[in-house]
Symmetry: C2
């Protein structure tokens, strides 16, 4: 089998985990894999003659002058003597806008970068129209399993349901590890969280590393909205953008422009009574409050926000910071096909990306 | 893209659902698909000139003389002018023993037939050694997702965990829709099942169509053992056969040879006290009894039988006749990657088979 070339952009937490997983995979793969580019903000390792970069020692390799993106990167990869897979391990919107150009040149892309798939529907259309996924001959493939649920088999399962002719009616779930942890601690199944208010739960989650440095980046619901946008589009809904449907932000309006995260957290407690009421209303009805995303193909609706769930439901029973995704389809009927587990973390996200890379390898002739 | 030929053996519930799903898939597939053989005990439709059989009207087509298996079938398929996928929708052990011969000739196989994969380890080795899955050039691919959990993405998920370098430590779950339904009704989470004894629950499950005609075929645990054997072997354990590890049968020894299912059910009530004790012991410890399969890669153990689960666990929370499969791995740590949903039924099983056929199509050059 002919050699496949891999180019990697971005080497943060996920990127590093990916490179180390790729090194292990490549060492046993029957198909020869040669990594020819690793580029991050602080370093560029370019193998001008397309010989393989040593994945064990790349981080201490001297930095060459970086390739400009997309111009020089595209030229370098398009001249490669064999098929190329570009791995975008950044979360950059700028990089995502150039995917189509690479795909058109036969370069495949695998990525955990949500931006390309949750920005405008025009960008989505452009990318998919340029890809081999929909049969464009000579084009590259694109896979992005890790954009929803990290390494959990969410998009691949949705794709198989659709490809085999099942009708996906709705998808519902907890798509954020942060929100999962937060509500499991604020509104546990037992009903008793030791009297902690919502603000205190947010502060604790932040100290434990479960939130972004500024928790508003989680609480605004936008991360969940991006994931829902991707799932909805894959299910055939024409979602214009990640903000074109109702999103319930848990950041009070008056605190949106508070300057620091610390000042925000200090003042969040003023709103504890509102969240307490939501929680107690749910409990009075025998349920628990959870922050979920939902889409309904039949009514063409997508939404993100708080919802009450029966205590016996799978969503209510979720633990820790796990994600859960329930697919309601014609074939599965009343009871959903459910996938559950850690939906964030460098190792499991990198696994989702490597799984995609393997899928491309299987498809490359 | 070159035409791919499909041959189908078996057209019971799953087989019919498969043919109807395939008809829909083939009508929109970019790759031309031609079904050239449909053979069941009562009918053979053979397209001698390899032109496509009409999948809408096949069942009313006049039966030609059936092809003998494996001789004539193999000769017919091996002379096909393009790549062939053999779909074995039977549950015949005899057919499974000939898989390697077809694979060696470059014919791929997709099947929900558990026999080939849960009989002797020698048969398993022979089949995989002959397949392209492990890189044998010119050979056919073999996929059997639907042998565990029907259409649920169980084997594909396990494969991806392993391929990307995760370490699977243990797998545990409810692998039988019958056992799921039975214990959800005998030992519900609430603890109160209206005082029904185990035998009454079995009779009810049978009347509702949740068991085999003779419920002992479910209660003996062998179906679960076959699925565990497949999962364990895929995880690298050298399980000799589906009966080479501890299996707790729920059929009392003295009732094994009772002649009819009805006589068995009549006498099963004599053992209700034993099951009641198991159930009450679990409840005293704050848990519920479930019939599960488990494998542990680290201790090289596989087992099938009753086990007590914490009421807050995902396994205890299972509903209806759903299956649940929990993967405990290095990357997912303490909390499992969980897949849950209907694990039986013609439509979802056929979907698993069609999903496999699509995987083969993607790999065929």
């Amino acid at each position: 089998m002919s050699k496949v070339y891999v180019a990697i952009i971005g080497a943060g937490g996920v990127g590093k985990a990916f490179i180390s997983q790729l090194a292990q995979y490549a060492s046993t793969s029957r198909r020869p894999i040669s990594t020819i580019l690793i580029q991050r903000s602080s370093q560029a390792v370019v193998s001008k003659d397309y010989s393989p970069i040593d994945l064990a020692s790349w981080s201490s390799a001297p930095s060459t002058s970086p390739l400009s993106f997309p111009e020089e990167t595209h030229r370098f990869l398009a001249s490669c003597p064999g098929p190329v897979i570009l791995v975008d391990n950044t979360s950059s919107a700028a990089i995502a806008t150039h995917y189509a150009r690479f795909l058109t040149s036969g370069i495949s892309i695998v990525t955990p970068n949500k931006k390309a798939f949750s920005d405008s529907i025009e960008l989505w259309d452009t990318i998919y129209a340029a890809s081999a996924n929909n049969g464009h001959p000579g084009a590259g493939y694109i896979f992005h399993e890790a954009t929803v649920g990290a390494g959990l088999p969410v998009l691949s399962t949705l794709k198989e349901l659709l490809e085999t002719g099942d009708e996906v009616r709705r998808i519902e779930g907890v798509f954020s590890g942060t929100m999962s942890f937060l509500f499991n601690s604020f509104a546990p199944l037992s009903g008793d969280n030791g009297g902690k208010g919502f603000a205190e739960c947010v502060s604790e989650a932040r100290e434990l590393g479960y939130t972004e440095p500024d928790p508003r980046d989680d609480l605004n619901g936008l991360d969940v909205a991006r994931k829902l946008t991707i799932l909805a589009r894959m299910s055939g809904l024409r979602v214009k953008s990640a903000t074109s449907f109702p999103i319930q932000s848990l950041v009070p309006k008056s605190l949106e422009s508070v300057e620091t995260a610390e000042a925000f957290l200090e003042r969040l407690g003023q709103f504890d009574n509102d969240m307490k009421k939501v929680k107690e209303d749910a409990e009075r009805g025998g349920g628990v409050t959870r922050f979920v995303g939902a889409m309904n193909v039949e009514t063409n609706e997508v939404s993100v926000g708080l919802k009450t769930f029966d205590k016996g439901s799978a969503i209510a029973g979720l633990k820790g910071s796990d994600n859960i995704i329930s697919f309601y389809t014609k074939r599965y009927g009343e009871r959903a096909l459910i996938i559950q587990g850690a939906g964030a973390g460098a190792e499991v996200t990198a696994m989702g990306v490597l799984g995609d890379l393997i899928k491309v390898l299987q498809r490359l002739k």
